[in-house]
């Protein structure tokens, strides 16, 4: 039997520290796209609550915690992050495995907001974007999902194939912020 060795999207690129800001690759566990079928949103939210401990997130919000998170991901769509999806969810929603589709990185440390202000055209300051808020927006020229998680850190999901550009763009911004001292 052949042996397939797994590689993470940012292997060889991270971690990175510039000034006080840190960028790590995270292993988020399973990523599952969850799209409730017609008229199933409420029922799905209940099953999600029972199975994984969090309801279906409102637009631009994330529910759950470090173990299991549901991040709003677009029109009628959330990303279940962490656990393998409970099979009962499939009665109410289209489930699609996306565990390998996204590069997941964590940006944190003082100045992380300033770094993202150079790439993301959305107000991500803690007052407007506290923990539990999430955004599908641009990260410079690519689309990304950005969520403020525990400790004020940002969880950023971007296309796996764009991991090199993601790290490059973040590093450029981190250097610019650090250079200002």
């Amino acid at each position: 039997m052949v042996e397939l060795v797994a590689r993470t999207p940012c292997a060889g690129l991270l971690p990175l520290r510039v000034g006080a800001v840190l960028l790590d690759e995270v292993a988020p566990g399973a990523l599952t796209s969850v799209s409730p079928y017609k008229g199933q949103a409420e029922a799905l939210s209940k099953v999600l609550q029972a199975a994984h401990g969090m309801g279906f997130p409102a637009p631009s919000r994330a529910t759950g915690d470090r173990q299991a998170r549901a991040i709003w991901f677009g029109h009628g769509q959330a990303m279940l992050v962490g656990p393998a999806p409970d099979p009962a969810l499939a009665d109410h929603a289209a489930l699609t495995d996306q565990s390998d589709a996204w590069a997941a990185v964590r940006l944190h440390g003082p100045g992380a907001e300033d770094v993202l202000a150079r790439l993301v055209p959305v107000d991500l300051r803690a007052g407007s974007f506290p923990e539990g808020h999430s955004m599908r927006s641009l990260l410079f020229h690519m689309t990304a999902s950005i969520t403020r998680i525990e400790d004020g850190a940002f969880l950023i999901l971007a296309f796996r194939s764009m991991a090199a550009t993601l790290v490059h763009d973040l590093q450029t911004a981190m250097e610019a912020v650090a250079a200002r001292g």
């Binding site: 590689r7 079928y37 796996r160 194939s161």
Partner: protein, 977 residues
């Protein structure tokens, strides 16, 4: 000349710098202009057209004359205003628009020819012969006239873009702006205070007035210290808000490092900010306007407000003996400041008959300055009174013609400012930019007290609108002198009186424009060039239109202003495009096999954002064709492996998934059995082909659609539109899984053998007919297998979760090599599909229909689909449309070129005779000659005919036989076997 004991510069910190190669010394806090004045340098530039020596006119961003080039090599920056450039250790600046030197400029000969070079001269003179304009006249004129030059090298400095957000953006940190920021900041609002100067305080730094019982600049420092202590207030110094845009968005340019020689790693020299503000207070102040009189551009003549700024802020006098000329009490204030600093004031020339008396200086009431002498620096001015003319010796002259509020930003959304006769200036129209209020001097409030009052009131109004409570606090005490002015735009008389210093436009030019019927202010601007170039007429617009109004017998408000457009002051293209230079233009998408392809030396080609290997060179191969032919051979004779992960993959689920696919594809998918794959054609609404690909049925309510690499995004967008806009009630959900799966084509007679060697269970041929699909296991990992072919050989595509992509590619290529095959790239892939007549976007390029590509019968008659009705338009079904054919040179060594056109053999190759064109060509190793696909009138009706392929661009003509598009294995036995 530096004045002892005056100014806000730090005399404990001397700074050495160079101007035109000469070393000078200044102090921390100096601008290049103030330091040069302190060093006795009076000529700082040459004028645009006549190359007249010019000195500094102003002390701010409106400076028209003192433009310099800073830096060297690829970091060279032209047209830097000496009034804004702070000096720093090692600063090197050069004057511009002169040859060979600033002191001796040969182009100054233009000045002698001035009688011929007035407005419209070029337009009238260089008309004949017509072709000479572009070839000769324009290049020569452009070389003679101009500003600084770019280095011509790619940018050596880093720039960046950034976003900021706030409740209130305060633009300008003079008394009005400081007060607005203070009131709003104390009330807890999120405030950004932006000012273009390095030091905040605005005119408080340049005047001697007290605020709240202390010197104005000290009051400013107290306020700034309080603002700095407030966490909700952000100060942005050296930041020019240059444009007001929709939705409370403002553009701002921050000069981050121009004041320093330091370049820490990764640091930008400028940041282009997009600031989104719920509200804005414009407190941009006002710009003083000069008075036009003969030779009023002599070095040493500057605005009175600038003279006070140099004296009070920088401790510099522009001369030993400074005369003052004006039409308001500001002239008197200037004389008093000069005298207090110990500078001789020979006379104050006040055009007002009723000017207030003064015992401090010699006052000439009802008098004007009518000439100035001293080519390289002012020596004397001539004044005219009722008694006649008189010369007064002076090496500097402070001039004030009144103040023009800086209304620019209020006009960026197409509003025009409003003329106020009482203060002889334009003020902003209220509500001109939604959410923006003007306060202070930019609103026509010229005393310190009214500035403070308006700033506070504007902030209060904003806070109320934002629903915040605000305490009533007393305003600081400050001067509240009335603004007494009698309009004076130009002094009559002979000679040239300059209005626009930067463009060398005189009073006479404007009058001539009016005379030649360029009477609209917009026409006058374009005829004379007044108000163009880097200063955009900040100093001259109002005076020029006043002169035009006079010349045309209209009032100033009737004449109106030209259009104010962003940016307020110049913004480097490098800042606008920061981060997007080079490969920063767009993201790079790498497949999981990318590193392995690079390691094998494969040249990568771009397919959309993706990078795909072109071919995999081997030692001893001298050109790509050899590699390509070898790789084609792998697939035809053994087994080839190609990464096809870049194709779009869309996961489609729901009880209406089948109906949805029937609707978006021209052919049927509801009848497809689970575990089977079908080729599908997708039409646009207009009936033309949009994309093609295969779709697999993974379950009763579960499909997997593939798209071409290039159209993946477009197809996804199309599906969203169809679902949300046309069939919102259908229960179907879809999501892209392009990134989730690494997918590899394994094709060739030994494909099955290869797969049997790596799959956890060998394939049972009976279970895997052509166009089947299903789950497989590789190394214990759940994958998917599809029996499809884009090469015409027995072909499979195997997919695994992307984390295993790199590993699987290595295994597949190793095994393929062991079987006499190997990896193949895009070139071989292209050859394989052309030999089989398979189409790509070279053929479905947006102007072809299913009928044109020979797939008319794929538009199912049994159901409706997007584009069906439109595809049935009679014009789209005519037999003589250009339809897909194969093309083969009649001589085996004949060349074919994609993009070439087709003609009848006997017809001359001109447009009217066009019969079609060639879309794809390749050298076919199987046929041993070039072949191609193309579109030919009549298409399949003409198989066997000879046509002429003609490429006029590359000079190639080849006679070709028209064939069917499938050149190799036309019955598809190899693919199905």
């Amino acid at each position: 000349m530096r004045l002892a004991g005056r100014g806000l510069i730090d005399r404990s910190k001397p700074v050495a710098f160079e101007f035109d190669g000469a070393r000078h010394s200044g102090f921390e806090g100096d601008t290049l202009a103030s330091a040069l004045l302190a060093n006795g340098v009076r000529v700082m530039g040459r004028s645009f057209k006549y190359h007249r020596p010019r000195g500094v006119l102003s002390a701010g961003s409106e400076e028209p004359n003192a433009l310099v080039t800073v830096g060297a090599g690829d970091a060279r920056e032209p047209n830097v205003r000496a009034t804004m450039q702070e000096i720093h250790e090692g600063l090197q600046a050069w004057s511009q628009n002169r040859w060979p030197s600033l002191g001796f400029d040969l182009m100054a000969v233009n000045d002698l020819a001035a009688p011929f070079l007035g407005a419209g001269f070029y337009y009238k003179t260089f008309m004949w012969p017509r072709s000479f304009w572009e070839k000769l006249y324009e290049p020569v004129i452009r070389r003679a006239a101009g500003l600084g030059a770019l280095s011509g090298q790619a940018g050596g400095e880093r720039y960046e873009r950034a976003h900021a957000f706030c409740d209130l953006l305060v633009i300008g940190a003079g008394p009005a702006g400081l007060m607005a920021a203070l009131v709003a900041g104390r009330a807890g609002a999120d405030v950004i205070l932006a000012d273009e100067q390095a030091r905040m305080g605005g005119r408080l730094l340049a005047e001697t007035y007290e605020v709240d019982g202390q010197a104005g600049h000290l009051w400013a420092d107290v306020v700034l210290a309080e603002l700095d202590a407030l966490p909700n207030v952000r100060r942005m110094g050296r930041t020019t808000v240059f444009g007001a845009y929709d939705g409370g968005t403002y553009g701002a340019l921050e000069r981050v490092l121009h004041h320093s020689g330091r370049r820490p790693r990764g640091a930008p020299v400028e940041t282009y900010w997009t600031i989104v503000a719920k509200r804005a207070v414009l407190a941009a102040g006002a710009i003083e306007r000069p008075v036009a009189f003969r030779n009023n551009d002599r070095p040493g003549i500057m605005t009175a407000g600038a003279v006070r700024a140099y004296v009070n802020r920088w401790g510099v006098s522009p001369g030993q003996s400074v005369a003052v000329f004006g039409n308001s009490d500001d002239a008197h204030r200037t004389a008093r400041d000069l005298l207090a600093a110990g500078v001789h004031v020979p006379a104050v020339i006040d055009s007002r008959e009723d000017a207030p008396e003064s015992r401090d200086f010699e006052l000439r009431r009802g008098a004007v300055v009518c000439d100035a002498s001293g080519r390289r620096g002012l020596e004397a001015v001539t004044i005219r009174t009722a008694q006649g003319e008189e010369r007064i010796a002076a090496d500097a002259l402070a001039v004030t013609g009144g103040w023009n509020p800086t209304v620019h930003l209020t006009c960026h959304m197409n509003a025009r400012p409003v003329w106020r006769d009482d203060i002889a200036c334009f003020v902003p129209q209220e509500g001109a930019v939604p959410g923006l209020r003007a306060a202070g001097a930019c609103n026509g409030a010229f005393s310190t007290a009214t500035c403070l009052r308006e700033g506070a009131a504007a902030a209060r109004a904003v806070l109320e609108e934002l629903g915040r409570t605000v305490r009533d606090e007393p305003l600081p005490e400050a001067e509240d002198d009335p603004y007494r002015i009698a309009p004076l735009w130009a002094v009559s008389g002979k000679g040239r009186a300059w209005l626009d210093f930067q463009n060398d436009v005189t009073v006479k030019d404007v009058k001539q424009a009016a005379q030649e019927n360029f009477r609209s202010v917009e026409h006058m601007k374009r005829y004379t060039t007044q108000g163009m170039a880097t200063d955009q007429g900040k100093n001259s617009n109002v005076a020029a239109l006043a002169v035009l109004a006079d010349a045309t017998g209209r009032g100033i408000p009737q004449t109106g202003t030209t259009t104010f457009r962003p940016p307020y002051s110049p913004v480097a293209i490098a800042a606008l495009g920061a981060g997007a230079e080079g490969k920063g233009f767009r993201p790079e998408r790498f497949a999981t096999s990318h590193a392995a392809s690079i390691e094998r030396g494969a040249p990568m080609i771009e397919a959309g954002l993706w990078y795909r290997p072109s071919y995999f060179p081997r030692d001893g191969e001298s050109d790509w064709r050899q590699s390509c032919d070898r790789e084609v051979g792998y697939v035809r004779e053994a087994v080839g492996v190609a990464d096809v992960s870049t194709l779009g993959k869309i996961d489609i689920q729901g009880k209406d998934a089948a109906a949805f696919l029937d609707f978006v594809y021209s052919n049927m998918f509801s009848t497809l059995k689970v575990g089977r794959v079908r080729y599908g054609l997708m039409l646009r609404e207009d009936g033309f082909v949009m994309d093609d690909g295969t779709t697999a049925r993974l379950g009763e309510k579960h499909y997997l659609m593939t798209t071409t690499t290039a159209a993946a995004g477009e197809v996804m967008k199309h599906l969203e539109f169809v679902h949300q806009g046309l069939q919102p009630d259908w229960d179907v959900r879809f999501v892209s899984v392009t990134e989730q799966w690494a997918q590899f084509a394994v094709a060739g007679p030994k494909a099955r053998e290869l797969l049997d060697g790596i799959l956890d269970a060998p394939l049972d041929a009976a279970d895997w007919p052509f166009m089947s699909c299903g789950a497989v296991s590789v190394g214990g990992i759940a994958g998917r297998l599809f029996r499809i072919s884009f090469s015409g050989e027995q072909g499979f595509e195997i997919a695994v979760p992307a984390r295993y992509g790199a590993a699987l590619f290595d295994i597949l290529t190793d095994r393929a090599e062991a079987l006499g095959g190997g990896p193949y790239g895009m070139e071989a892939l292209n050859v394989l599909r052309i030999e089989k007549g398979f189409i790509t976007h070279a053929e479905i390029h947006g102007r072809t229909t299913a009928f044109d590509i020979g797939m008319g019968r794929m538009v199912s008659a049994k159901k409706d689909c997007i584009g069906k009705t439109m595809s049935e338009r009679p014009g789209l079904l005519e037999a003589d449309r250009e339809r897909l054919v194969g093309l083969k040179p009649i001589n085996a060594d004949g060349r074919m070129l994609a993009g070439a056109h087709l003609f009848r053999e006997e017809d001359p190759p001109v447009r009217e005779n066009g019969q079609g064109y060639v879309t794809s060509v390749c050298h076919s190793p199987m046929l041993g000659q070039m072949i191609g696909l193309g579109f030919l009138k009549g298409g399949s009706d003409r198989h066997g005919e000879i046509v002429k392929m003609w490429d006029g661009l590359r000079g190639v003509t080849t006679l070709c036989e028209v064939t069917g598009p499938v050149f190799f294995d036309p019955d598809g036995g190899r693919m199905r076997g």
